[in-house]
C-alpha cells in the first residue's frame, strides 16, 4: 500500500492526520465490497420506503395537514441528508461507550498529542449512510421540482441548512458520547434525538403539539435547521407567524448547538476516570 508509512521526523497537521485516518477507514470498508454494496442498498431502500409511507398518507388525504407534497419532500430530504452527513462523520462517537469507555481504550487516546474529538472523528468515516444521503438528495430534488415558488436563494440556503443540520446531529452524537462517561455503556434513549429527530424533522412543525414544537425549537434546534430554511427556500409563509427571513439565519443554531456540545465534551473529558483494564 503506498504512502501508509511516514518517516517519524515529519509530524502531521490535524487535517492531514484526519485525511490519513479517513483514507484508511475507507480502504478498510471497501475490502468487503459485497457487504458494502448490500448495506448501502439496504440503507437506500429503507429510507426510500419511509418516504413511500408519507406519500401514501398524502395520496389518501390529499395533503399532509394542508401542506403540499413538494414542501414535505424538501423537509424530508433536508433532514435525511443532514443526518446522513453526521452519521458518516460521527461513527466514533456513536460506538464510544462500548468500544472506548467500557474497554478502557479511551486512555490510549488521551496519551496521543491530538484533540480527542479529532481522533474520534477519525475512528471511522462511515460509507454506509451514502444510501440515506442519495435517497434524501433524490427526494429533496423531487420536492424542489414539485413545490411552487422555489426561490433562487434556495441554492445557497439549502446547503447552509444541511451544514447546520449535520452540525446539530454531530452535536447530539458528541453529547451522547459525553454521557457515556457517566453511564459507561451507550444509552439507546439518545436514539430519540437522532433517529427520532429525523422522524420529527420530516414533518412540518405545525403538525405537532406545543410541547413538542418547543422541544424541537429551543432544546434541539431541529426547526432552525429544517423547517425555517425550507419555508424560506419555498417562500412559504409560516402559519405560526414567524417572519420568513428567519430561515436564512436560523441554521446557525445548529453550529451553536454543536459548540455547546463540544464544551460539554471538554468538561466531561476533564473529569474522566478510567474504568481500568
Amino acid at each position: 500500500m503506498p504512502d501508509m508509512t511516514q518517516s517519524p521526523s515529519r509530524t502531521l497537521s490535524g487535517p492531514g492526520l484526519y485525511r490519513r485516518m479517513a483514507g484508511a477507514s475507507i480502504v478498510a470498508q471497501l475490502r468487503y465490497p459485497g457487504t458494502f454494496v448490500i448495506q448501502a442498498i439496504g440503507n437506500f431502500v429503507t429510507t426510500l420506503l419511509s418516504f413511500f409511507g408519507i406519500w401514501s398518507l398524502f395520496h389518501r388525504f390529499g395533503s399532509i395537514a394542508g401542506w403540499d407534497i413538494g414542501t414535505v419532500a424538501v423537509l424530508y430530504g433536508l433532514v435525511n441528508v443532514a443526518f446522513a452527513v453526521a452519521e458518516t462523520l460521527g461513527r466514533g462517537f456513536e460506538v464510544f461507550g462500548g468500544e472506548y469507555v467500557r474497554t478502557g481504550s479511551f486512555d490510549r487516546l488521551l496519551l496521543r498529542p491530538r484533540s480527542t474529538l479529532l481522533l474520534l472523528l477519525g475512528h471511522e468515516l462511515r460509507l454506509r449512510p451514502i444510501g440515506r444521503f442519495l435517497q434524501g438528495l433524490f427526494v429533496l430534488v423531487a420536492g424542489l421540482w414539485l413545490a411552487p415558488h422555489v426561490q433562487w436563494s434556495a441554492a445557497l440556503v439549502l446547503p447552509w441548512a444541511i451544514a447546520g443540520g449535520a452540525a446539530m446531529f454531530l452535536g447530539v452524537l458528541i453529547g451522547q458520547a459525553a454521557l457515556c462517561f457517566i453511564t459507561v455503556e451507550g444509552l439507546e434513549v439518545v436514539n430519540v434525538l437522532t433517529y427520532g429527530g429525523v422522524e420529527a424533522g420530516q414533518y412540518p412543525l405545525t403538525m405537532f403539539g406545543r410541547w413538542l414544537r418547543r422541544f424541537i425549537t429551543f432544546v434541539l434546534p431541529l426547526a432552525a435547521v429544517c423547517y425555517y430554511p425550507t419555508l424560506f427556500s419555498l417562500a412559504h409563509p409560516d402559519p405560526l407567524g414567524m417572519p420568513t427571513w428567519i430561515g436564512a439565519l436560523s441554521p446557525a443554531a445548529g453550529f451553536a448547538f454543536l459548540g455547546i456540545m463540544i464544551l460539554v465534551w471538554n468538561r466531561a473529558v476533564a473529569g474522566y476516570v478510567s474504568s481500568g483494564s
Binding site: R60, E188, E199, Y203
Partner: protein, 274 residues
C-alpha cells in the same frame, strides 16, 4: 420424542430477554417518542381533511400505532443473535451435533427471544398508553379497548399465530445467516422488509387502495397487522376467517419450505474457525 430440550432452549432465551431491564425502560421511552410523533402527525392529517373516508378512523389509527409500537420487538428484524455469533465463530457445529431436531431447537429459541423481548415491553406500553393516558386526561390519544369480547379473544389467538409466524420468518434469517456465515445480511434484508410490510411504518389499511390486497396477502401482515385488525374490528375481506386462514397458510408454507432449505443448507455447510 421428548419436549424437554426445546423447552430448555426456550427458557434460556426467554430469560436473556428479561435480563435487560434498563433496556426495556429505554425502549419504552423511544417507543413513546415515536408513538407521540406519529400520533400527532396522523391527528393533524386527519383533521385537515375531515371529508376523506379513510379505512381507519383516527381513533383506530392511533390504537393501531400504539399496538404496533408496543410489539416492535416481536418483528423478525434479523437472525437470532446467538446464531449469528455461532455462524461467525464456527460454534454452529455444536448445534449440528445435538441429538435434536434442529429446526425445532432453533425455532423454540427464536420464539423465546422474540417473546422475552416483546412481552414485558408490550405490557408496560399498554399500561402507559391505555389506563395511564386516560388518567392524566389524554384519553383521546390513548389505546382504545377491543371492539368486543369476541374480537379480543380472536385477536389473542391471532397474535399467538403471529408470534409463531414471526419466529418462523426469523428461522429463514437464521438459515440465511448459516449460509452466508454473517448475520449482517439478514439484518440488511430483514429490518426494512419487516418494518414496511408489517405495518410498523404506516398502518397497512392506509396504503393506496390498489396495493392493499397484496399487502394483506404477504406473510408479514400475519405478524401484527391481522391481529390488530381483528382487535379493532375493522373489516378484512372475507372476514376474520380469511385473516386466521392467511396466518395458518403462511405458517405452514414457510415451515415446509424452510425445513427443505435448512436440510439443503446443512448438507453443504462449510464451517469456519477451528
Amino acid at each position: 420424542m421428548s419436549l424437554r430440550p426445546y423447552l430448555t432452549a426456550f427458557g434460556l432465551q426467554w430469560k436473556i430477554g428479561l435480563r435487560y431491564r434498563i433496556a426495556v425502560v429505554a425502549g419504552l421511552v423511544a417507543q413513546m417518542w415515536f408513538g407521540a410523533v406519529t400520533l400527532m402527525a396522523y391527528a393533524s392529517v386527519y383533521h385537515a381533511a375531515p371529508d376523506v373516508q379513510a379505512p381507519l378512523s383516527l381513533r383506530q389509527a392511533m390504537t393501531y400505532t400504539w399496538i404496533q409500537q408496543s410489539l416492535f420487538t416481536l418483528l423478525p428484524l434479523g437472525c437470532l443473535p446467538a446464531i449469528g455469533d455461532a455462524a461467525r465463530t464456527g460454534a454452529i457445529v455444536y448445534d449440528l451435533l445435538r441429538p435434536v431436531d434442529m429446526w425445532n431447537w432453533w425455532l423454540s429459541a427464536s420464539l423465546a427471544r422474540l417473546l422475552g423481548n416483546a412481552v414485558p415491553r408490550a405490557v408496560l406500553l399498554a399500561c402507559v398508553a391505555g389506563p395511564l393516558a386516560m388518567l392524566v386526561g389524554l384519553g383521546a390519544w390513548s389505546l382504545a379497548g377491543p371492539a368486543s369480547l369476541i374480537s379480543a379473544a380472536l385477536a389473542l389467538l391471532s397474535i399467538t399465530l403471529g408470534a409463531l409466524l414471526s419466529a418462523t420468518i426469523v428461522m429463514w434469517w437464521n438459515i440465511l445467516t448459516a449460509r452466508t456465515l454473517s448475520p449482517l445480511g439478514s439484518y440488511a434484508v430483514g429490518t426494512p422488509l419487516a418494518v414496511l410490510l408489517s405495518g410498523m411504518l404506516l398502518p397497512l389499511p392506509l396504503y393506496p387502495d390498489w396495493i392493499r390486497p397484496f399487502l394483506l396477502a404477504q406473510p408479514f401482515a400475519g405478524i401484527t397487522d391481522i391481529p390488530i385488525r381483528i382487535y379493532l374490528g375493522t373489516p378484512i375481506p372475507g372476514g376474520v376467517a380469511t385473516g386466521l386462514g392467511l396466518q395458518i397458510f403462511w405458517l405452514t408454507a414457510l415451515t415446509l419450505l424452510g425445513r427443505l432449505w435448512m436440510r439443503q443448507t446443512v448438507n453443504r455447510l462449510e464451517v469456519q474457525g477451528a
